[in-house]
């Protein structure tokens, strides 16, 4: 394996794969936090629980649809630039991907319906429950899919070999019977929850709410550390190759050190109520985890034996896609900056008089 890795040089396929990891990183940082918001919506407790939910809804409202498109970008890049890998993944992971899609559909529509439906508690809770439960399930399934791939449980095989497998062995076992994959699912959930809680401390000036989410963010940090260690421990059996890459690979000490540093800074900043620092460190921590996974899997797209280069589409497709990406980025980046400046800059936070997000009185009558 290391020989193959050594002979690979940086090429067009790697550039595309890197862009995909970058998009996934953006998805984790942005949509991941939206999912995490759903988790905290479900867990909202205490006498200011309605205020917690209102804060979450305000934080997610204007941006969730844009955040969600990062996943579409990853999928489009996958099927354009690595079509056979996409076909293979969509076949073997049909069941978890389908369930994940149901979660994505229910979450997005329930959130919007809740925003625009009646303000009566019962109606709000009904949509809120769908929103929050699907916010919990979807990240777990996303993590399970990534975990199954990382552990090399979704290897490419010839059509004849694949057809010889029984239903369970082919479509269920690769992901469902892998403790490692489920651990990655748990890690994803903990990470998303942590991102959301950390961001939410910055979204409000109410110290009581800040304290709620500060506590939640610290709890999530505990969960992230536990699940991360569990994942590493399970990787020993699940995929010695991955375990080797995670413990002895080139550059790994630096990556681990960076992750540890970011984690430490997040916890320290949360404890000292430096919320902006905490948000920045949390972004770093989550990015380190995403790139750590990508780096440990490199150069394989479908471990254990299919590399990024071997599964890539023709050169012309890759270069045109990268060209389209650069042009698209020129439009997209300023747009994103504008979106976040309008809604996430200091002072833009929580405007109670913003009538566009006020839910109108129920049945005002004609």
């Amino acid at each position: 394996m290391s020989d193959a890795a050594a002979t690979l040089t940086w090429t067009l396929p790697h550039a595309v794969a890197g862009t995909m990891v970058l998009s996934l990183n953006a998805y984790v940082l942005l949509a991941g936090a939206d999912f995490g918001g759903g988790v905290w919506d479900l867990m909202a407790r205490g006498r200011n629980r309605d205020a917690q939910r209102a804060l979450i809804a305000h934080a997610i409202g204007p941006i969730w649809e844009a955040n969600h498109v990062w996943l579409v970008l990853v999928v489009v890049l996958l099927f354009t630039c690595f079509p056979s890998a996409f076909a293979h993944l969509a076949t073997v992971l049909h069941i978890p991907i389908t369930l994940m899609l149901v979660g994505i559909v229910l979450r997005g529509s329930a959130f919007t319906f809740r925003t625009y439906d009646s303000t009566r508690d019962a109606v709000q809770r009904r949509w809120g429950l769908i929103f929050s439960i699907s916010s919990v399930l979807t990240p777990v399934l996303l993590g399970v899919c990534l975990g199954a791939v990382a552990a090399g449980r979704v290897p490419m095989m010839s059509p004849a070999d694949a057809a010889a497998l029984e239903f369970g062995a082919r479509f269920v076992d690769p992901w469902a019977r892998s403790w490692f994959a489920w651990a990655v699912g748990g890690l994803t959930l903990a990470l998303f929850a942590g991102l959301a809680a950390t961001y939410l401390t910055v979204e409000t000036v109410d110290t009581e709410l800040q304290d709620v989410f500060r506590r939640r963010a610290l709890q999530s940090q505990g969960a992230v550390m536990l699940t991360a260690l569990g994942t590493l421990w399970l990787a020993r059996d699940a995929s010695p190759m991955l375990f080797g890459a995670l413990t002895q690979g080139a550059g790994v000490p630096v990556l681990h050190a960076l992750t540890a540093l970011a984690t430490a800074v997040t916890c320290w900043a949360l404890a000292r109520r430096h919320f902006r620092v905490a948000r920045l460190a949390m972004v770093g921590q989550a990015s380190c985890l995403v790139w750590g996974w990508a780096w440990s899997q490199f150069p394989w797209l479908l471990p254990p034996d299919r590399s990024i280069t071997s599964l890539a589409a023709p050169r012309i497709t890759l270069s045109l896609t990268l060209g389209a990406l650069s042009v698209g980025t020129l439009i997209l980046l300023p747009s994103f900056v504008y979106l976040f400046r309008v809604f996430k800059s200091p002072g833009a936070g929580f405007l109670p008089d913003d009538e566009a997000v006020t839910v109108p009185e129920d049945r005002a009558g004609p």
């Binding site: 969600h68 099927f79 566009a356």
Partner: protein
Amino acid sequence: MMSDLEFARAQMAMSLAFHIVFAVVGIGMPALMVIAEWRWLRTRDAMYLELAKRWAKGTAILFAVGAVSGTVLSFELGLLWPTFMEHAGAVIGMPFSLEGFAFFTEAIFLGIYLYAWQRIPPKAHWWAGVVVAVSGALSGAFVICANAWMNAPEGFAMVNGVVTNVDPIDAMFNAAAPSQVLHMTLAAYAACGFAASGVHAYALYRGTPHRAFHRAALQIALIMGLPAAVLQPLSGDISARSVAERQPVKFAAMEGHLRTGPADFVIGGWPDEATLTHRGAIEVPGALSFMTTGSTKTVIPGVDQVPAEDRPPLAIVHTAFQIMIGCGMLMMALAAWGAWRTWRRRRGQGTALPDDRAFLLAVILASPLGFVAVEAGWTVTEVGRQPWIVHGILRTADAVTPMPGLGVTFALFTALYFGLAIAVVFLLRRQILKTGIRHLPIGLTGEMPIP
């Protein structure tokens, strides 16, 4: 019991039929709200601001469902048709990537449009709406380019079952793309314009205390819907010629032209696939030959030129095509009526359009026609291409996933979409139709006297 292939096709058909409604809304509604807001900027009449907000709210509800159901489709391409994506991905990924960016832009600026009424200056807000409308139309156009490729596959060579010589630019700008993009974009404006017109015509017809508001809304919606309906038959003709040239069997199935020879124009009827004869059709001898080539004698290939296993389901394609044409004709007739009334009104005769009860009733009845035509038109495009998923290259049956038990996922998504559809209808009714007009200072715009 249906086979897995049939369940896969049913699931894809349902997902598309569901998503396309919201995709069309994502193209048409932003245009409506932008026009309304522009009128507000020009007149500073609070009524237009209220209208823009009202339409924006409808757009928000529908756009969210469109976004998530579109995400489902992008995954379903692989979940249901992995072999297709394996071959086609590298060839037609380009328009999908571009669509991704257009949709991204649309989502970003829709977020700004919906939530930033009080955070950015009115002009900037209006421009955000313009970006939503433009990127919405663009994202539709890109996806249609990819679909057109399935009808006119270009930009690659198939050697021993392997795709080589890929040219994504050629594939994207395939021969079927211009006519399909034009036809579908017009269809989106017509469908949204008619649907929105119907809602406000209904309020006027029932007698609403907010007459001026609904009149203004109806006027804007008609201005978008009626011209699109007039242009649509022209673009339909371009499309039909394009299909006749590249997919003669699909064209023959659409027109119900079963046997090769001079073609009659077939209205109605039920084609019998076994005997290749019609039951209960009205046939105008030689008319189709005349319409396509200018001579009644020209021989046009019929569906009999290919073996039975290469023919699409004739009855479905022919019926769907006729439904689409019928809806188009009715919408065009309504547009002609409207134009005639406006012309008479200009010369000082008759009442203003929105107050003519017969016209209002016609608008109400016509309001679903645009969406019916969109659904029927897509049935023609997709079912008419069968048994091919990529015309002449790859059969649908060879592209389906080996995953068994697709009936389960079909049932799952049917239930999901059914629930969503109910929720959407319920919400739109409660939020758009049943509430009064808020923030409208009494006396500022007042109720205009009925002329």
